[in-house]
Symmetry: C3
């Protein structure tokens, strides 16, 4: 109790000092261009007093953000198309102050198992999508049903993918000439698969740590830090907005640039960034991005940007130069996709539901197709929905390309989907024969050399060719993880079977 | 006939509306800095009225271009060294208007099988090098005899390379444990090899498509879209200026940046961009490019740029800071090259003629050397011409490096050419022995594992070491596709032969 | 003698011409913003007269540099924290002129075997760290004891690493079905390993070359050009400041950007740049670098930069936004490192001394651990020093991250070090067994397929996972040279042993 009083006194003193000495600097420096700079809540002012000394990078990052330079009230006055917040109604207490430390880190405390008292304030360690939802409701809702939101569940709850994860990231020991797989550790998973897919962050209790302020008590979190897209937060929400809007600048510019997506969508399994980078779109981006308007909402084709980035095609609100909507914003990143070119093991229509672990193929596996290619159709969108989404995507293409051009581009993609699936089928036929003949053991489909070659075939090479087709990056269709590897690896699988037979 | 009248009436109406309502915006916005902004032809004004709505990205891209901001007449008044057009005489009808839609898309209609009537105008779908030649005659002429112009023919008409293409990009089926190669599809070739090398675009007739303007008729093109460097156009010309000057901005900045070349010159087979990126030149480019003058003509060493890009060494007009010419511009991209370090299968003096499919080695194959390394000398430039070109290239180096430095750099390259060719020779000796002993089948030299290893040796690894030598990117000489792979792959070839003998 | 007089007369004429005609241009153009522009020494003025014509790129590069725009005298007047020179006392003759050609290229002539007379001046070809030390003494001293300074010795004088170099970069011939290793050539080594590690540059005498000025005499240097970090210079000093501060602009901006480090620290063996590029830090750098202050000293977290680059964590002077020092500058790039995650063959505490060739493990090999993992502890820093350095590094992290976050990040790294070392141990156990059973020949541990697989395991894959852990680049922990390759390669080693047994 005495400690509590002490802390409150301490904070009040800081607040007093701050009120008379500090604001001039903060306001005059980063935020002086804003007239008038928005007020900060009293709580946020106190946060900044300490954190300006203990984590100054965060404070400066926030000072660059739009959150520090406006208020929800001002944001709501913008024309609808220019708004970056989608909620129509925002609690009065938040309306007239900048969106500061306390405004974000204090929401929904009862849901947050990571809520704790920190120098007199009850705050959450983690700001979750459910907290951001107060102002960004449409985005949070769209995201919450997407495959991204379930990215962790979709690995963990799917027996096939779970086995693959364990087979790869487990430490192996040698015992009597045999390779023994130990259990994959939390660290190994957190740094590899789950860095992108997300971890489940739980609260074990409180713990004492030695910080710059002396010993303090903080929640003891498991699987932390993590910013994966499917993170399960201590309030049970899914996702991490900072995956793409890092970290306290919440910059739309960063999210629109392909470097953000490249954190996870990178070769060899998902070579989206690599292919974009070598495509003509990527060339124009790399060469001319310095002249573009990265912050405009809506994002106007030709005017604000000359060539698409990942965000342009997959989720941004895109408009004509005179601000007529071409496609609306979405934070379900699969919403404009009709086919999933990321083969598991074959390409397939997009799943109806973000929870792909619930899919069952005819053999009862959690896969969108059987090993011989039959679709688990009841879990996948139908042709009408596919056509609707393709039409939506084509609208983006047609901002710069003729109808015929766009049609023919997608015709080629269709051909390539058929051909690469056939290449996967050829490899799978060989593997099924090897399993049948006892040349390999099907009980774990991910731990022998022939199985590793087969995995490369669908996960690395067929995917690379399809992504290369979708985004026109020719080397990934040819020599770099493309047809060259599809061809030589198929030979290797056949040769390995022949050798094993002898 | 009634339709014709209707279309003309429609266009006149648009023109009327445009004259009174539209120009103020177009001119005032993107082109207002130009005083006075050049006139647009009446035809181009009509194009823009519709395309501003249907493909606004193209219109905005063009508004950024120099084409929209000047006229040939004004361009001709520039001092010769600063001119971006090389033709001395330009048709009067084109002289006093901006280089707009109609000016480019209406040229040489009788040669263009893709010419068609489009809302009252006879236009070509494709603007070919022969059209650009009206103003850029020297560039079109230089390009027309280069290896790039014949990049498609050089793949298709060369039996060896044609076999390689077919072996790689064909879909494979399994029949009775055998891998059956189907024919490589047009889509697969268009997205891989021909994406860079170019396709042959032919016109099948007219077809109806459903566009934003309703049903319209357009030429039915084969192998379209494509922007490969050796594209054969519907007017029988070769090449696609937009390969390097994308798309309607025709920016010299984009063409001068290495990202343009990286669309095709990328690892594993042609790792020019990757090596440049990790070289000191590439470092300086990546770090400081934002301070350079990317648009100056002539391009002045030290003043406009601090380190060379691909264009600096291979084709730009380079001058001293006080604008004395160091090397003239060329659009034959091999014109400053004395040796072809891209081994086929060995490095060799540059071919005399861009049509490399006409080369015959002593065994009658369309290869610049025999498999044992003898040059097909009559098709290759002689030592005098080699020396002349090396001297030309060294002039660029000597903008920043001493004579001794440049000499020693090229001495090392010479050593490396000898050594890597010897490594290819060692691998080839092993393959020839395997063929002779019946351990592999020479009838198709590109479809067995030992052959795939041999291809890697000359196409990926020896090339990487030579490019790394030429541009000083040490990792591609060492562990990344360099000596490491040359060494380990040679071991694998030997081991495979020993295994097959047993 | 007559020649000497002629040259001096020539130079005086040039100087006369220069004094009246030249300065206005030089000063008015690049340096006009400086008021007043510093004087140039008479010698430097003469250098520029010729080199402006013969190597204009160098002159322009220097004109961009701080060296051309200030003097040591002015630099010494800056507040200590803002100074870019660390020497307190600088010779009077250098104090009041710009740091020009002659000021750098004429120092310590008696130590420089590459000193020669060049148009009347005695100059050195190479400016060595010992010359730069006149003004930058702390940096030169720190560097001189670092592993970088001994990077060449550490390859050449270490029998194990020397064998590895020779095994890889030597040309191989086929004789009677055997692969014969020739000696690795100076060119091959200079372009691969020694391009980063440095060469030994010696002076054979003088030689005549044909330059733009006619025939001139210059020192005949061996193993030149080279800018490797461990270069042994003709004055016996070690290093090359231009490795990271290229070339005559000496830009702090270039040295701070990750592209500089990427010249050598790149996949597959040292994938630092690649992992940084795909990390969140790298994303923020790539997306927002254009808004940062790359030239400020001290470098202020949050204010000047939002996310760290290589330099931030490893060597820059980092301060808070209000310029309180977080960590001091160091040019011993290992000074903040407690563990060497670059496994040789296992990770290990940082060596005490930059001369790692003097380390001996218990088997007497120059390796920091035995093949079975025991540390050569007497050559490695102890736990106290490890803790001290980790605390130093964490200070940088804590500029933006909470104490708990930083702690947990390094906890994971510790786990990963243990697990990847165990994976290396498993591979090594298999290799030792193969050697013991005569399935491979231990006399050269680097020239057989099973040994190549083993090298990949520790040099490429275990390293990639550790670097990915340290910098949070998940794909290099997973599919790209990470756990996937560690797992599949271990299988291959086991399978190869089983095949060889049969």
């Amino acid at each position: 109790m005495i400690k509590q009083i002490f802390i409150h006194a301490f904070c009040l003193t800081l607040l007093f000092v701050y009120t008379f000495a500090y604001p001039s600097k903060t306001f005059s420096d980063e935020r002086k261009a804003i007239s008038p700079p928005p007020d900060l809540s009293e709580q946020t002012q106190v946060c900044i007093i300490c954190h300006k000394n203990y984590t100054p990078g965060i404070v400066e990052d926030w000072l660059r953000s739009r959150h520090s330079k406006t208020t929800p009230e001002r944001a709501l006055k913008k024309p609808a198309l220019e708004r970056r917040i989608s909620s129509e109604i925002i609690p009065e207490s938040l309306q007239t102050v900048a969106v500061g430390c306390y405004e974000c880190h204090s929401q929904n405390p009862s849901a947050h198992k990571d809520n704790f008292e920190h120098f007199g304030f009850k705050i959450n360690v983690i700001v979750s999508p459910n907290d951001c939802k107060i102002c960004h409701s449409a985005e949070a809702d769209q995201y919450s049903v997407s495959k991204k939101a379930y990215a962790l569940d979709n690995l963990q709850k799917n027996p096939q993918y779970h086995s693959l994860v364990e087979a790869i990231v487990s430490t192996k020991e040698i015992q009597d000439d045999k390779i023994i797989h130990l259990n994959a550790s939390d660290s190994a998973k957190a740094e590899s698969c789950y860095a992108c897919h997300g971890t489940r962050v739980t609260v074990l209790g409180m713990k004492k740590i030695s910080s710059g302020m002396g010993d303090i008590y903080v929640p003891d979190l498991t699987n932390w830090p993590n910013q994966g897209v499917g993170r399960i937060n201590p309030d049970e929400s899914r996702g991490s907005c900072t995956s793409c809007h890092p970290r306290h600048s919440f910059s739309i510019e960063i999210a629109r640039k392909p470097y953000t997506c490249s954190q996870c969508h990178i070769e060899p399994d998902v070579p989206a960034f690599n292919i974009y980078h070598e495509s003509k779109h990527g060339n124009i981006f790399s060469s001319n991005q310095h002249e573009w308007n990265w912050n405009n909402v809506p994002w106007r084709v030709g005017k604000d940007f000359q060539a698409p980035t990942c965000a342009t095609c997959h989720n941004s609100l895109i408009a004509t130069p005179d601000s007529k909507v071409i496609v609306p914003r979405t934070h379900d990143f699969g919403a404009r996709l009709w086919v999933r070119i990321f083969g598991l093991i074959y390409s397939h229509p997009q799943p109806k539901d973000g929870r792909t672990y619930s899919i069952k193929n005819k053999e009862g596996q959690s896969l969108p197709t059987s090993l011989t290619g039959e679709l688990a159709s009841e879990y996948l969108i139908d042709e009408n929905e596919q056509m609707r989404r393709q039409t939506e995507m084509k609208k983006v293409c047609q901002g710069c390309h003729s109808t015929d051009w766009a049609n023919k581009h997608f015709d080629r993609l269709n051909d390539t989907i058929v051909e690469t699936d056939k290449m996967v089928s050829s490899a799978t036929q060989l593997l099924l024969k090897a399993w049948k003949e006892g040349l390999a053991d099907a009980s774990n489909p991910f731990d022998e050399e022939i199985e590793h070659l087969w995995i490369r075939q669908w996960l690395f090479y067929a995917n690379s060719v399809r992504y290369a087709s979708a985004m026109e990056g020719p080397d990934y269709a040819a020599f770099k993880n493309g047809w060259w590897e599809l061809t030589t690896t198929l030979n290797k699988i056949r040769d390995l079977i022949q050798t094993k037979r002898k």
